[in-house]
Amino acid sequence: MNKGKIVEIIGPVLDVEFTESLPAIYNALEIDVESGSSRIRLTAEVQQHLGDSKVRAVAMDSTDGLARGMEVTDTGQPIAVPVGQATLGRLFNLLGDPIDEGDPLPADVERWPIHRPSPAFEELEPTTEILETGIKVIDLLAPYVKGGKVGLFGGGNPDLYVLTLLPGEEQAAVRDRLLAEFPDLGLDVTLNADYRRNIQEITSQAFATTRLLLFIAVLVAALAVANTLGMNLVNRGHEIAVLRTLGLTRRGVRTLVTAEGVVVTLLGALIGIAFGAVLARVVVTGAGALTGFRLEPTVPASLAVIALLASPLVGLLAAIFPARRAARMAPTRALASWSEHV
């Protein structure tokens, strides 16, 4: 066996001196030493030939406890991981060792080096096929191509599992059992009810901002009603003048225009609430179909009631100026010859 000695350690980077022959780049180096009471087993990968019989290698795990002069063995080949049927359903670390506490792999399992040439062009599949994972979000939004490489989310991002309970199981009890069973995994178990509350909190925060938009919308609506009533007066000035000649007082005209504003806004609120309820149903149904979650629209009844009660008030305010203007219009406009001298 080709053996060397560590000459320098900087973080995960090791420089090793080989006196017999230099290991090839990408070769795996193994360290297996007793250091005091503990035993250090470490694999490193050769990255660079430094000259002077030295190579530079990167350790695949912590270099804690290593010291200069420790013995390093060249395995003569790159890191090799198991492939084939035996690996299906198993979890491995980057060295190809099982980490799922399952049965050890059979000794004759086929291993392939992690560095090898790409398949030749004529070996490639000319068509692009999708690897169906059965996970909706991945297959729909970011499908994996067969034969392609994909990054797996790992490191700082926790993996997310959805547990489906057997009938008769208590959610809280299962959570407690999980936490007791795997205290080291840093599990974060969220019950449906809590998850639901979280989502609701997020959405209600989002809706809090829409309150402001709602207020602006009401303001715009009031201006629109005032404008409509005002425009209406241009067309109906004549009719109002006729009513004035027939004995309708200024107060009567004001009441007429104000009542119109109230009716318009009340109708608007009714139609708006109905339309909003339909729209919510459409959006929620669409979102449910996309995400696969079972969603249900809720109608904020109290808000609807407030809208219904407040809408006549908005109409009342919007009508103030148009009503005042209508009451001031000259009743002489009723007569056919009115335009002659104005």
């Binding site: 006729v242 027939l246 004995g247 007082t249 200024r250 009723a334 007569l335 056919a336 009115w338 001298h341």
Partner: protein, 246 residues
């Protein structure tokens, strides 16, 4: 006109000017007019003679710069807008060239509108059948204005003008939108009302044939009374033609 008859409308020295940009336009320059109860007076004059302004002032739709208007013996100077409105509602009846019925109310509702505003709806409802009979619209009361002919619409408008028993009916070109036959019918109705039922009518028109139906014609020109003539006797038509020609 007999002196014993009380005046329905008395206007004395009416003056009215309008501001048109920089220009001041004198519409009336001192017009006096007395119309007795039960009298039918036509006011004639070319465009700009001031007849519309006179109608505005007599109808309490506008106030004069100088002069006074009495309706049924009651002075109107210095009254508030609400008081004028009430007076208009109770003592004056208007009919218009374009009828001016409220389109989405039935004929009955149109007629009863002024009575409803003045708070005597029940009484007016009792009187309505007789009035509708007199005006020949008894079988049309449940129709909408658009389902009525022009003549019928003007009769409905006349019923509306009369429903509150006004001292005087003010008519603004009442036949202007009617053909000569239906116009004649409306005029005959007014004539009959004055003769048989004691109505008082002031009618603004520039139709000589319409004016001849009245008892008396007052001519206006340039904001002043240019003359007047009784229609009884031979010379009336000639006087009208002279006036129009001059």
């Amino acid at each position: 006109m007999s002196e014993a008859r009380r005046a329905a409308v008395r206007a004395v020295g009416l003056e009215k000017s309008y501001q048109l940009g920089e220009q001041t336009i004198r519409a009336l320059g001192g017009v006096s007019l007395t119309v007795g109860q039960g009298e039918f007076v036509a006011v004639m004059g070319p465009s700009g003679s001031g007849k519309s302004t006179l109608l505005h002032l007599l109808g309490l739709l506008d106030s004069p710069d100088a002069g006074s208007v009495e309706i049924g013996g009651r002075a109107t100077a210095g009254l508030s807008d609400d008081e004028l409105t009430a007076l208009r509602r109770d003592e004056l009846g208007f009919i218009f060239q374009n009828f001016e019925l409220v389109p989405n109310l039935s004929a009955r509702e149109n007629v009863l509108l002024p009575a409803e505003v003045s708070g005597r709806l029940a009484e007016a409802e009792r009187e309505l059948p007789a009035l509708a009979e007199q005006l020949g619209i008894a079988d049309r009361l449940d129709h909408r204005p658009r389902q009525l002919s022009g003549g019928q619409r003007q009769r409905v408008a006349l019923a509306r003008a009369l429903i509150n028993h006004p001292v005087v009916v003010l008519a603004d070109e009442p036949t202007g939108n009617l053909d000569s036959r239906t116009g004649g019918e409306v005029l005959a109705l007014l004539r009959h009302g004055v003769d048989a039922l004691g109505w008082t009518v002031i009618m603004v028109t520039h139709d000589a044939a319409a004016a001849l139906v009245a008892d008396r014609i007052v001519f206006l020109r340039d904001g002043l009374v240019a003359g007047e003539t009784a229609t009884a006797g031979e010379g009336a038509r000639q006087r009208i033609e002279e006036f129009l020609a001059s």
